[in-house]
């Protein structure tokens, strides 16, 4: 059996053609003067960028579970209880409870899973605008050593939160978007939409 020539290989004619034209095409090109300065100026204008950490392992990624309005109604009631507890503790500081977001019965409730790795912590609380920053929502130690988790029903919208470790240490979620509040404190953000949390 004879080998057939590869139909995609160069023919002698094409090789000669390429030898004629490629030296001209391979000549170096320069950009307009000041290129580096222009790029670095733009870079400096954007710096410092808060780069997100590496992709979190599956057990640390926020998860959402969509529930029917009926099932959500029950959960919303429970959630309203949680919010009410936070309200009692902080009403004087944060204003009337009705100003804070609460799950509503008319919308689908989204379960959002929060997780953080804190191997040395004795207790971890979730504080956020959804519980009046009260710190009463404690995370449970998960099956993975050092990892604390909690799943909460949250209404649609943008929620700011952070973790409070051992009641004293404020830690932002390294896997989430980070913002700075009016007082310069960094908090994490989760956005709950119709398609899930991000």
């Amino acid at each position: 059996m004879t080998d057939r020539p590869d139909p995609l290989s160069e023919t002698p004619d094409e090789r000669a053609f390429l030898e004629r034209i490629t030296p001209a095409l391979r000549a170096p090109e320069t950009l307009k003067s000041g290129f580096d300065d222009r790029v670095m100026e733009a870079v400096r204008a954007e710096a410092p960028i808060r780069y997100p950490g590496p992709r979190a392992p599956w057990w640390r990624r926020p998860r959402t579970v969509r529930l029917s309005p009926l099932a959500g109604l029950g959960l919303a009631a429970g959630f309203a209880g949680l919010v009410a507890l936070g309200t009692l503790a902080t009403a004087g500081r944060f204003g009337p409870a009705e100003e804070r977001p609460v799950a509503t019965a008319v919308d689908t409730v989204h379960l959002v899973r929060f997780a953080i790795s804190a191997p040395d912590a004795r207790r971890v609380a979730l504080v956020g605008d959804f519980n009046g920053w009260a710190g009463g929502t404690e995370l449970s130690a998960s099956a993975v050593a050092g990892v604390w988790t909690i799943t909460l029903p949250l209404p649609r919208g943008r929620h700011q939160y952070a973790f409070l470790i051992d009641g004293v240490r404020w830690v932002i979620d390294p896997t989430a978007v980070i913002v700075r509040d009016d007082f310069g404190t960094e908090t994490s953000v989760v956005t709950v939409s119709g398609t899930g949390a991000s």
């Binding site: 053609f17 095409l25 950009l31 960028i49």
Partner: protein
């Protein structure tokens, strides 16, 4: 003193030292200037595409999964920026038609290979290829990448790339012959 590696510079930038990005910029800017110019046909567009590519690379540096292979990662961004700019330019229907009389004059001259005029003429023919063919041809015969490297930076399979290079070569030959016989 040994120059810092790409990975070290990437780590420095991510840690907040934006000035370290200037070293990456200087290291790769010239290599990509030629690719972008061949792809887009002129220095202004190449400049625009590369500015945009470097800025995009800076913004998403944390997504560079293998910082020691920053060059290949940046190549993908540059290719995408060139594709985007070329598509935008096509939508604007910017005319790339050059003065045909110039080509006629060139045909009668025995220009040495590498002269600006010859390069301009070949570039004009290159502009006549579809973006896909031009990209494959430039990566193979100008940037001298292997097909495997081309597949990595373009996301296109090796067989398809071989076919594009072959067709690009034939089409380019035809376009240049037409120019000489006009």
């Amino acid at each position: 003193m040994e120059a810092p590696s790409d990975a070290a510079l990437v780590a420095q930038v991510i840690a907040g030292d934006a000035e370290a990005f200037a070293l990456l910029l200087r290291r790769y800017r010239d290599a990509h200037a030629r690719f972008a110019t061949r792809m887009l046909g002129n220095r202004d567009d190449a400049d625009e595409a590369l500015q945009s590519a470097f800025l995009r690379a800076f913004r998403s540096l944390a997504k560079c999964a293998e910082p020691e292979r920053f060059g290949a990662w940046l190549y993908r961004i540059v290719i995408n920026e060139c594709r985007t700019l070329a598509a935008r330019r096509a939508r604007r229907e910017r005319s790339l038609v050059r003065d045909a009389a110039t080509l006629g004059t060139l045909a009668e001259r025995d220009d040495p290979v590498g002269s600006d005029a010859l390069r301009e003429e070949i570039q004009h023919a290159l502009d006549g290829l579809t973006p896909e063919y031009r990209e494959a041809f430039v990566l193979k015969h100008v940037e001298e990448l292997s097909y495997e490297e081309m597949a990595e930076v373009t996301g296109v399979g090796v067989s398809a790339l071989k076919m594009r290079v072959k067709r690009a070569c034939q089409r380019l030959q035809g376009l240049l012959e037409e120019a000489y016989h006009d």
